[in-house]
Structure formats: C-alpha cells, structure tokens
C-alpha cells in the first residue's frame, strides 16, 4: 500500500520556521555587507573608528598614551577643544565637523601586545562594532598581524608604533599605512652622528631582541655602522623579556668590543641598559677608547624607566615634544592642557594617523577603503610635526625628518629626558622600496 505524506500542524510550523530562517539568513548575517558597496559603510550620523592599543601587558603605559591621543584626535575632528594640529595641517580638507558630515565615534580593543589577542580585538571591532578603520599598537609583531587581518577583512589599518622594516617591507599590505619611521631610517639617521661622536674605527657588539623587530633593527644598524668602517664583532640574540641580561653582558666585557648596541625596546631596553651600566661598561676603556652604548630606538616613556643610565646615550626617535615647529607646538599644547604632561612619540604618531585617515576620507569624499587608499597614496602634507612628509605610494611608508636624540645630561624636568641632537633631513633616510621586497597587493573593500 502506498503511504502518502500527510503533514501535521506542528510539522508545517517547524518547516515554515526553518524555511523562513533560511531565507532570512543572508540578510541577518551579512546585511551590513550586502546592503553597502563596502564593509561597515556608516549608515547613521556617526562613523566608528577602532583604536586597538595595548591596555594590559608590558606596554600598557604606552597604550594609555596612544588612547589619550586618539581621544584628543576625536575631539578635534568633532570640532571640540582647540583643534590641535587641525590648525597647522596642510593641506586640510577637514572642517572640524566630524568626517564627511558624520561625527566620529570610537571603540577600543586591547592588543595585550600579543598578535593573536590583537587580531581578536580588531576582528571584534570590525565585525561587531562596525569599525571602518583600525589603528594603534605598540609592537611590530602586532602591527603586521593586524595589518594582515584588516587587509583580509577589507578595512583600512593605520598602524601605531611599529619600527620593523617588515611592516612596510616584506609584509606590507595595500590597506595598511605607517606614519612611524623604521629601523632602516634609524640606521641611516644615526650613522653620521655616531661617526662624528665616536669615529670610524670602532668594534661593535650587538644584543638583539629575538623577534622580527630586533632582527630588522640589528640588520639595519649593522649595515649602517659597517658602512662607516665599524666592525661587528658579535650579534647575540636575547630572548624577549629576559629580565636579567647579565649572562649576555658579561661576554661583552672582554670581547674586545668598544661599543655595545642594544637592539632592545621597552622593558628589555630598560633592563639591559641598566645592567650594562652596572657592569661598568660606560666606565671602561677598550682599544684606547671610551666604551660607549647606543640604543637605536628610544622611547621617552621607556627611557624614564632607565633613569640616569640614559644620560649621554645616542638613539633615534620619531618625534619629540620639545620640537618647535608649529604643528608640534599645537599638539603639545592641546595634549598638555588636556592631560597635564607632554605626549610621547607613540601618542604623536597615533594622533597624526587618525587625522590623516579622516582627512583622506574627506578628500576622497567617501569612507570606501579603496578610495581612501587612493587619497593616502603619494599624499604630501606638512604641519604635523616632522616637516614636509610623503606617504609613499610604493610601500605606504611615511618619509619625513628623523630625530637623533641623546639622553639629557642636565634634565630640567621629569619629562626632559631626551635631548634632540639633530633633525635628520628626509633625503638622508629615503631608500628604494625594492630593498625590502614584499607586495602591496590589491586593495580590499570588504564587500
């Protein structure tokens, strides 16, 4: 006997519900994508920026300063406060009324200075909070990881503090942009100053943090100093966060080296420098010369941790609050009035990145990532603290003056830790983008 299918009331209801959910699914799960021509197109009267900074972990203080700068940038973009660098930025398409008529809102994420945590928080801000752009960070490992995520997702990434050559070298992406300088530029800027201070006949010993940024800086500084005639005796890799570096410093004592180059950042820099000074390296005479130490990448916040040990030690930095150009003065004034102390270089680069992105949207007339990429590529600007600057189209790296600094021998305040020795012109730090390889690829709108 043939049995016919006789639908029950419950079965019909279940089937109907399932069919309804199935039909609705594409709009439920991807309405934001398909309703617009690019990911996270702002539909209301606000546009959301995603600030991804280290709020916990070793770089939390630097992250806090980045966040302060972003909040200040949002204020200025929305027409509040004294306007800061909006008063000095040239050319300027922004009007102090948000971006493209929309007020700027923001969400924050905690990178924890860990690549996986940083990617997770960026992903959350893009997918759940609808962030149109991700910016921030205090480590090259994080910057490279998040940049890659933003490329895949289809939003713009404006990196924070990242100094490895790889960020705009072998790991560069079309959707990613870096305002901060890099290790190559540090080497190119420092070399002539080191030559003047210490001559051309020197034997160097490198201690290098064993990760992408450390390798990158070691290579760049080696190339720059060897070109001066310096000999590299040894380059020893040290584990990140080693704490006690004594077992790496003792071999330096009788190695015949007369210069110790510390390719360390953050806590590692504070510890290795403090311990090197305690081991009497700065009081030593080797090869008839005074032994010296060089810290190629300085951060004022970190240098504070090393206390008096930084006095007289050369390094480089992206920006310093004591600069006297109009842009720097305007930013330091705004930041100082708001928070009671001067901004760090991390704060500066983040503030500038937020403004540059907003200005690019305004010039492009849209938030569409590929149009913003077009507006930023090859963009020339001034009044942002480092003189005339180019966002080079070939690798999305900013080219501007680099500062060579020295630990201040006679500080006048707790913030007066570094002294600007030289503002190295952009021509001296410019290089052929081909030397670091990589491919920008295509831009991605995420839709």
């Amino acid at each position: 006997m043939v049995e016919f299918f006789t639908p029950s009331r419950r079965g019909v209801l279940k089937g109907g519900a399932a069919l309804g959910a199935g039909l609705a699914a594409p709009t439920i799960f991807s309405s934001r994508v398909w309703a617009a021509d690019y990911l996270n197109k702002p539909m209301g009267d606000t546009v959301t920026f995603g600030f991804n900074v280290p709020q916990t972990g070793a770089y939390a203080d630097e992250g806090a300063d980045e966040l302060r700068a972003y909040e200040l940038a949002v204020k200025h973009l929305n027409g509040e406060g004294d306007g800061g660098m909006l008063n000095t930025m040239k050319p300027l398409a922004l009007t102090g009324n948000g971006v493209l008529g929309k007020k700027v809102a923001f969400v924050t994420g905690d990178t924890q200075t860990k690549s996986d945590a940083a990617r997770a928080s960026a992903k959350r801000m893009i997918e759940k909070d609808g962030a149109i752009m991700i910016t921030g960070g205090s480590s090259s490992g994080v910057a490279i990881a998040v940049q890659s995520l933003c490329q895949e997702a289809g939003v713009i990434f404006m990196s924070g503090l990242t100094h490895s050559n790889d960020t705009t070298g072998k790991d560069k992406r079309r959707n990613g942009f870096r305002h901060f300088f890099n290790a190559y530029m540090s080497g190119a800027a420092l070399a002539p100053v080191l030559k003047n201070a210490y001559g051309t006949d020197r034997k160097a010993y490198h201690l290098t943090a064993d990760y992408t940024w450390g390798w990158s800086q070691e290579e760049s500084i080696k190339n720059a100093t060897e070109a001066l005639g310096w000999e590299t005796l040894e380059a020893v890799r040290t584990p990140l966060g080693a704490g006690d570096f004594s077992q790496y410093i003792t071999p330096v004592l009788n190695s015949g080296a007369d210069v110790l180059i510390l390719n360390h950042y953050g806590k590692d820099m504070v510890n290795s420098l403090t311990q090197a000074v305690q081991f009497g390296l700065r009081d030593k005479q080797v090869n008839g010369k005074d032994f010296t130490i060089v810290v190629p990448l300085y951060s004022r916040l970190m240098a504070q941790g090393a206390g008096e040990n930084v006095k007289g030690i050369f390094g480089s930095t992206n920006w310093h609050w004591s600069l006297q150009d109009e842009g720097s003065k305007a930013f330091v004034k705004s930041f100082g009035e708001e928070y009671g102390f001067p901004p760090s270089q991390a704060a500066h680069t983040c503030y500038v990145q937020a403004l540059l992105y907003a200005d690019a949207c305004e010039r492009a007339g849209t938030f569409m990532p590929c149009a913003v990429v077009g507006a930023l590529e090859g963009h020339e600007f001034d009044g942002m603290g480092n003189g005339p600057t180019l966002y080079r189209a070939a690798d999305h790296q900013c080219f501007k003056k680099v500062l060579v600094v020295k630990g201040n021998e006679n500080p006048t305040s707790q913030f007066d830790i570094l002294e600007v020795v030289q503002e190295v012109p952009v021509e001296q730090v410019t290089y052929d983008p081909a030397i670091f390889g990589g491919d920008l690829g295509e831009c991605n709108n995420g839709a």
Partner: protein, 342 residues
C-alpha cells in the same frame, strides 16, 4: 678562564635569587603541603615595598615657578623632596640608601601579608587536591599583580643602589688577574652575600631554635607532634610568614638589579618552581643547592661558545635538567624518599 669566572659570578647572584624564592616555596610545601603559586607574587610585593619606601622617603614638595611656563601654558613645577628640605645632606643620604632602608619596612609588611594570605585563603585549601591549590594560588598571584599594576603602572620603576655600590668591583685583581679583566657590579656581589646570609639565618633558625626543632619534627611527622599537645598548625602559619619575609627580602634587594614591574614575580615563579622540583620537593638544602646549580648552569649555557654548539640551549637548559631529574630521580636531588615517586 676570565669568561668562566664571570659566568660563575653571574650564576651565583642569579642563583641567590632562585634559592631565596625556592627556599620559601619548599618550606611552605614541606610544612603545609601547599604548592603556593603565589610565592612569586610575594617576591614582587617585596620589590614594591622598596618602591613604596623610596616614594615615601622621596615625597616631593611641589612649588610653581610663575616666571617659567610649560609648553601648554601652566607654570613650571619645582620639586624638592621634603626629607632634603628638612634634613639637608642627611636627607639625601637616607634617599640614597632607600633600598637597604626598605628592608626594615619590608619585614613587618611581608609578615602581615604572609599571615593574611595563609589565614585568609590558603588554610581553606590544605585538604584539597594540589590542582586546586595551584589554581587558587595562581589566581591570587594574578590578582596581586593586577593590583600592583593599577597602583604603580606597567612600566619598570628603577631603584638605585647607594652611590658607593653603583659601580663595578675589580674582582679579578683579588685572584691575581690583570686589573680590569674581571669586573663585577658591587651590588650583585652584595646580593649574593645577602642571599647567603638570609639562607644561613633560616637554616640556623630551623636547626638551632626550639621553634625550628618543632617545625622540623612537624615536617617529619605532623600527627605525632600533635600528640604532644603542640599546636603545629600555628607554627606552620608562622613558617608561612617567614617564607613570605624571605621572598620579600629577596625582592627588595633585587630592585637595583632588575627595575621592578608588576610581572616580575611571575617571571621568577616558574624558574623557582623548577628549582624546587630539581632540589626535591620539601627539601631546604635541595632548594638552595639547586638554586645555585641552575643559576650557574643557565649562565654557562648563555656563553657564545656553548650556544654555537647547542643553539638556543640558554632557553631550555633549566627545563632540560628538570626533565632529566624527573626521569632519573623523581624525588629530586635531595628530596625525601617517596615524594613525587608514587
């Protein structure tokens, strides 16, 4: 030869820190049977005692100079420590010696912290499995370090040794080497001597006093000691306080070597735990011997000559030794028979 001597010196001061932390860790395990993963946090809290004392002694009188303005238009602040304005050169001297002075403050503070930790939390986990003890003490360590981060920030806070001990000693000359051939920081030598002194004091306390004798008896057979009418638990609580003081003092004196930050306890905890395992859980001489042994081994493993043969050996040497010990002699170098061998 000079390189070998330098690495031995390195190993001794590093080993001193390991031994001091491991000593307290193993003392607590031997008496209370608790695996205290918050012990590294006690080292960190000791270090922050030094930071706090330094900040208190260095409290500044802030006056404003209206003739000079900051870039953001407020008068420049002129700061001078109160102690200097009150006591002049004596105030400067006290500031300079703030780390040794901190020891006086750290002892009572660490006793209180130890007792509160033991009475307030750990006593409730004596009869619970080791896994639960580890979880709760590890959680406590995280809470303590987050509190410190909130109060003091995430950046390292450098503490300076007294001026006379800031430079390096020409140790080589004492052993017939050329001047300048073997130099070593004065403060690290002081740290090694301090570690030796504290370790000696703990052993003397346990070996030469009646209190120590009871504690040792309790470690060997808790129930029998109880049958004599002795409240061994109370004594073990005191031992927990003693372990906290030892870890705290190790932290205070380590601050000029390693600028303290909220995470320093965690950095030392894992290594110290390995030291305890290698020395033998509950064995005090084992902890001290293993502390110095592993400190020296770690220093030698960092030599370029060694690393050129075994790349990366400096990173794994301590764990490699622990693995070998656990395989060959699970109770550790000087551990009691049966412990960890079941």
């Amino acid at each position: 030869m000079d390189a070998i001597l330098l690495q031995i010196l390195n190993g001794l001061d590093k080993g001193g820190a390991y031994a001091l932390i491991a000593l307290g860790l193993t003392l607590v395990f031997g008496t209370l049977g608790v695996v205290n993963f918050a012990h590294g946090a006690l080292f960190m809290l000791g270090a922050f005692c030094a930071v706090t004392v330094n900040q208190l002694i260095g409290l500044e009188q802030v006056t404003q100079d209206p003739t000079q303005l900051t870039p953001w238009g407020t008068p420049v602040e002129i700061r001078e420590p109160y102690i200097v304005s009150w006591l002049g050169d004596t105030g400067l001297l006290i500031l300079e010696y703030s780390v040794p002075v901190s020891i006086l403050a750290a002892i009572p503070v660490m006793i209180v912290i130890g007792l509160v930790m033991e009475r307030g939390l750990i006593q409730f986990f004596y009869k619970r499995p080791h896994a639960e003890q580890i979880l709760v003490t590890f959680g406590l360590a995280i809470v303590l370090q987050e509190i410190i981060k909130t109060l003091f920030g995430a950046n390292p806070l450098p503490q300076t040794p007294p001026d006379a001990l800031r430079t390096a000693a020409d140790v080589g000359v004492m052993f017939g080497f050329e001047p300048g051939q073997i130099v070593y920081p004065w403060w690290r030598l002081v740290y090694f001597l301090f570690a030796a002194l504290v370790i000696g004091s703990v052993f003397a306390f346990l070996q030469l006093t009646t209190f120590g004798m009871v504690v040792r008896a309790g470690m060997a057979d808790r129930e029998t000691v109880g049958l004599f009418g002795i409240d061994i638990q109370k004594r073990f609580t005191v031992v927990f306080g003693l372990a906290a003081v030892v870890a705290g003092l190790a932290g205070v004196m380590y601050t000029p070597i390693l600028p303290p930050d909220y995470h320093m306890g965690m950095d030392f905890l894992v290594l110290s735990f390995v030291v305890v395992v290698v020395g033998g859980m509950g064995s005090l001489p084992g902890a001290v011997a293993a502390g110095f042994l592993l400190g020296i081994l770690q220093s030698f493993a960092s030599m370029t000559e060694v690393k050129s043969i075994f790349p990366g050996i400096d990173q794994i040497i301590i764990y490699l030794v622990a693995v070998v010990i656990l395989l060959v002699r699970p109770r550790g170098l000087m551990g009691r028979k049966g412990v960890m061998e079941g």
